[in-house]
Amino acid sequence: MLAGVTAAFLVISLISVGNEYVSGFIEGCIIQPVQRLMCNADPPPKSREELENELSRLSEENCRLREELAQHYDIMAENEELRRYFDIKKQNESISLIPAAVISRDPDENFFGFVMDKGAFDGVELNSPVVTEKGLVGYVSGVSMRSCRVTTILSPEAAIGAVVKRTGSVGVISGSTALSDSGRTKMTNLPAGSGISEGDMAVTSGFGGMFPKDLLIGRIKAVYTDAFTAMPAAEIEPYEDARKIQSAAIITDFSGKDELFTKEK
């Protein structure tokens, strides 16, 4: 028997020398299955105490990983939000932004004001500008600990220093009851003969230190003479529709903030 096996082994060895098919067959069909069997062989059974320890360790690890995953998702969402405002930050490096979500809208609010989920605890202050990647939306007009109320640029209460980029004409952006329904606002106090025309871009002037300079506001849709002041005025179509936004960023700091107030002091 032994002699037979040895002879067969010798014959196979002689045949397989230099023959990849035979050696491959032997390796694949005989050696590897045995190796796999050895590797997969069950380890000696664990005691109940060991199993309980392992279970509690795995449970803890599972908990920790779940928390890490939740944090990971939070960070991913925050990154995504911050990426939206990267361009604003690139234009003005001194700006500090906090992304925030709109959490409620007041049905009794006449000019589309809303409440956001960041408040005094997050560093939001009264009059902080609110922007999206498209442009200015409004400013914070009320702050509580964990939320803030935003007055939009569609409100007549807003008075934002603005400049027409092409001509350099300075004016004031303030909402109008007649235009707010169509999501538009107006620019008043423009100097006579300012030469502004339809399609010109309006940005914040930065005067007064309430808003940073050069934040996009909107495009001029029509130029007319104000009936009360007899000065040129313009109808502005904001780049961002404040009536529909779901999230925005609050500018908490920028260079030149509160400039006017500091000088007065």
Partner: protein, 171 residues
């Protein structure tokens, strides 16, 4: 009154809170031609149709405070105006009117219109904004109608609570 009879207060509170959450949704839901219904007002009036003055005033005050403080404001307009309006409605229905869908809708319309008009006066006219009546016609009338549309829904719910209470009280 049994504990089961009092469960309606819990249901009322839940109703008011749900109305508040629905009316303040951040996305444009429950809107009609750009106007949003003040659901809290509808809920408070519906409660006033069935309950005594004290209960009506308590729930109206709860709704008013909720509305006032939730928009980072201080306790003010709604906390004062809603209890007063609901007290009047409750008093009228206890002494003068028989409760049915017609009287309820008419009373709700009058109440909602009164509250909205006072709101318009305080938050629009007194602030000196121009084109007052044009704005009232454009915004407030639609808001009044939207709010009125919600009244039958809350009335139906409160009628159900009222019948449950009556069944318990009658054994």
């Amino acid at each position: 009154m049994t504990v089961k009879g009092r469960i309606r207060y819990l249901l009322y509170a839940f109703e008011c809170f749900a109305a508040f959450l629905l009316q303040s949704l951040p996305f444009p839901a429950l809107e009609l031609f750009g106007a949003r219904a003040a659901l809290v007002l509808s809920a408070a009036f519906s409660i006033a149709f069935f309950e005594s003055q004290v209960t009506s005033v308590i729930f109206a005050a709860m709704c008013g405070v909720l509305t006032d403080i939730s928009y980072c404001g201080s306790i003010g307009f709604f906390s004062v105006i809603m209890p007063a309006a609901c007290y009047s409605v409750s008093l009228l229905f206890e002494n003068f009117f028989k409760r049915n869908l017609f009287t309820v809708t008419a009373a709700a319309f009058a109440g909602i219109a009164a509250v909205m008009f006072i709101h318009f006066f305080v938050f629009y006219l007194m602030r000196g904004y121009p084109d007052g009546w044009q704005f009232f016609a454009k915004r407030y009338i639609m808001r009044i109608l939207c709010t009125l549309l919600a009244v039958p829904v809350f009335y139906g719910m409160d009628l159900l609570f009222f019948r449950i209470r009556s069944e318990y009280m009658n054994g």
